[in-house]
Amino acid sequence: MATAIEIFKHLPKKNCGDCKFPTCLAFAMQLANNKAKLDDCPHLSEAGRNALASSSAPPIRLIRIGSGKSVVDMGDETELYRHDKRFFHPAAFALRISDDLNEDELHKRLSYLRSLRFERVGQVLKMDLLELECRSGNAENFASFVKKVASETELPLVLRAGDAGVLSAAASLVKDRHPLLHGAEANVKEMCAVAKGLALPLVVGADDLNALADAVETARKEGVEDIVLDPRPNDLKELLERCTIIRRSAIRKTYRGLGYPIYLSIPTGRDGMLMASTAVMKYGSLLSFEELPASNALPLMVLRQNIYTDPQVPIQVKPDLYPVNNPGPEAPLLFTTNFSLTFFTVMSDLEKSKVPVWLQVVDTEGLSVLTAYSAGKLTAESVKNALQATGAMERSKMGVLVIPGMVARMAVKLNEATGLEIVVGPKESSGLPKFLKS
């Protein structure tokens, strides 16, 4: 939103009070704070309304693909750097399937896509969309292919064809799935007519940003508002720089014409993986993969999970009893918090020690040991409850609980609460291997 003074310039300056605020300037200030609506002013000129409506639009348009529960949202981002607030809509991953595949190959491809599904710290990592590409050049062929695939998957779809007629025929069959249309390098105006006619979002592409801005302008003149950009980078440098310029132009408002999500076609091989990883960190919204080897998929999905974590809400691991190095009943019991970073560090140091232990993870709402203790989220009571919930004291019969050195002062209360002998461990996780060996 613009500042109050910028808004004020477009108001009628009559101070009539019809908006329920005493002056136009007061109204402008309310508008700037999102506490009033433009429509509250009955005297606003058409030009003023347009100027204000466009300046109050989000810097990057929200585009939704799919229908029902199976949707992908892209855009509506507000930051250049994730530490300033957060990145909102994780880059969506699409696998491309073309209509020249036979039945057998198609099913192999679909089941491969479904196999790329991993559970990690309580979240499911998976592929988000299917991109269906016309390579046959045949409208009927493509249409029946699209219909068939659509009946076999609930995933949101991207339809890609170089010919407007071919794209239109297929898209109208699955219109209610609200697919994204990609006209490859075809005529923008023709593709716009298709997108407008079916009320579907459209990818607009060009080989450089100036041409891309022109294409977007054309699309908007043709009445298409739901636009996704394809900046067609040839290499890593172009990808990083074009995506950065697009995002900065929108957020810094230096140029408003490119405020849309970014689509990227990812080539095969090492270069593709590097481009995809870069796009995940640097503003890509939809990555369409020609191929995505399984060994690349997990690192890429974890990168996406990491980058799109809300910096204010730490990733939490499941509060549970974790066996480390195959412990038996004679192994000692330790506890830590469910803050992922703490957990991963402790886990890796415990594994390094090669000493069998039981690790109880206590729910501290994702706070680290000392922070949780200070905030009252880590108490003798909560540790006891966690141990009881997992039956930890039946699994480890040693009768000893090793506690983090940072919270040594909990020792007495913990002893009273659990009846276990309390041993104060090292302050830093890195001291665990040495501590456990001795």
Binding site: F118, E241, I245, Y255, L274, T278, P299
Partner: protein
């Protein structure tokens, strides 16, 4: 339509640093020049100077903490730090990051003299600049790095690592012999600044400090490092003099992630995945501001090299 290029208006730049020294300057090799950047990583429209990121090959003189896939990649050579370093040179490393873990008082407890001999043997075998770490035991490291510093006087090593709780002996070892020093901090921009202040207050020149803000690996807190690094770089470019120093990011810790070295159903070949685990960590370090990457697996170094060349538009 001409899209205006939105440049951030930076007022600061990253200081320059040389590692390794020529004979004229008391060393025996051609130096690497790092730093000097005036914009965010690899944005040529913001900073036309080509960005140098140096890739350091990880070498240790004992194998306790060396990830198995890294050992396997170098075969027999890992039993001899000299052969291991030579192998890295053949694989295109810009410099060597030598961990003198044999000096660990709880393991082999090699003497500072032995450690210094190892360093000199590596320096004699290859003409690359060197980063040298002790074993992570502050008291022993003080003695080890003092000896190493003296033995390699004038060679301009990069000595690791100074921490808030113990930095004086390593700072002294660096100052007395013309070396640079790594200031380590634990995932926090203020602590990163603090260690630079402590070192410079103690007398180390700001041009002799490199920071290590701890590169947390993919899936192990990478997002914290990515943002801490990015904030450090932005603060430096915005004029915070104490953060205007180059940054080193160690990516070898990626192999500690379970997903990098264990079988995972449907997640493909484990070694291939592990290599990408390290490479993806490296890529996040590159884009958030690293000037030196320390890498363990030679394939990961090749990928990181492709990435650097790609970002520079030289692929």
């Amino acid at each position: 339509m001409e899209v205006p290029v939105p440049k951030e208006k930076w007022t600061g730049s990253i200081g320059e640093m040389e590692l390794g020294a020529t004979p004229e300057k008391g060393g025996s090799r051609s130096p690497l020049r790092l730093g000097g950047n005036k914009g965010l990583p690899f944005l040529s429209f913001e900073d036309p100077a080509k960005r140098t990121v140096a890739l350091a090959g990880f070498v240790a003189d004992s194998l306790e903490d060396v990830p198995l896939p890294v050992r396997k990649a170098f075969g027999e050579a890992v039993n001899d730090p000299v052969r291991w370093a030579v192998a890295w040179k053949e694989k295109g490393a810009d410099l060597i990051c030598l961990h003198l873990t044999s000096t660990n008082p709880e393991e082999r407890d090699a003497s500072p003299e032995e450690a210094a001999d190892t360093v000199m043997a590596v320096m004699k075998a290859i003409e690359l600049p060197l980063i040298v770490y002790g074993s992570g035991h502050p008291e022993k490291d003080a003695k080890v790095l003092e000896k190493v510093g003296e033995a390699a006087k004038g060679e301009r090593l990069l000595l690791g690592q100074a921490e808030e709780g113990g930095y004086k002996s390593i700072a002294a070892a660096a100052m007395a012999n013309g070396h640079a020093v790594i200031g380590f901090s634990n995932l926090d921009i203020n602590l990163a600044k603090q260690i630079v202040i402590l070192l410079t207050d103690y007398g180390v020149g700001r041009g002799d400090v490199m920071i290590d803000p701890l590169m947390a690996a993919l899936g192990m807190g990478l997002e914290y490092s990515y943002s801490v690094n990015e904030r450090i770089r932005i603060s430096a470019l915005s004029g915070d003099a104490m953060l205007q120093v180059p940054m080193i990011c160690d990516c070898v810790s990626a192999w500690k992630a379970r997903e990098a070295s264990d079988e995972v159903p449907n997640a493909g070949d484990t070694l291939e995945r592990g290599i990408w685990w390290e490479s993806t960590t490296a890529l996040a370090a590159l884009l958030s501001g690293a000037d030196i990457l320390v890498l363990g697996h030679p394939e990961a170094m090749m990928i990181a090299r492709d990435a650097v060349n790609g970002f520079r538009g030289e692929a």
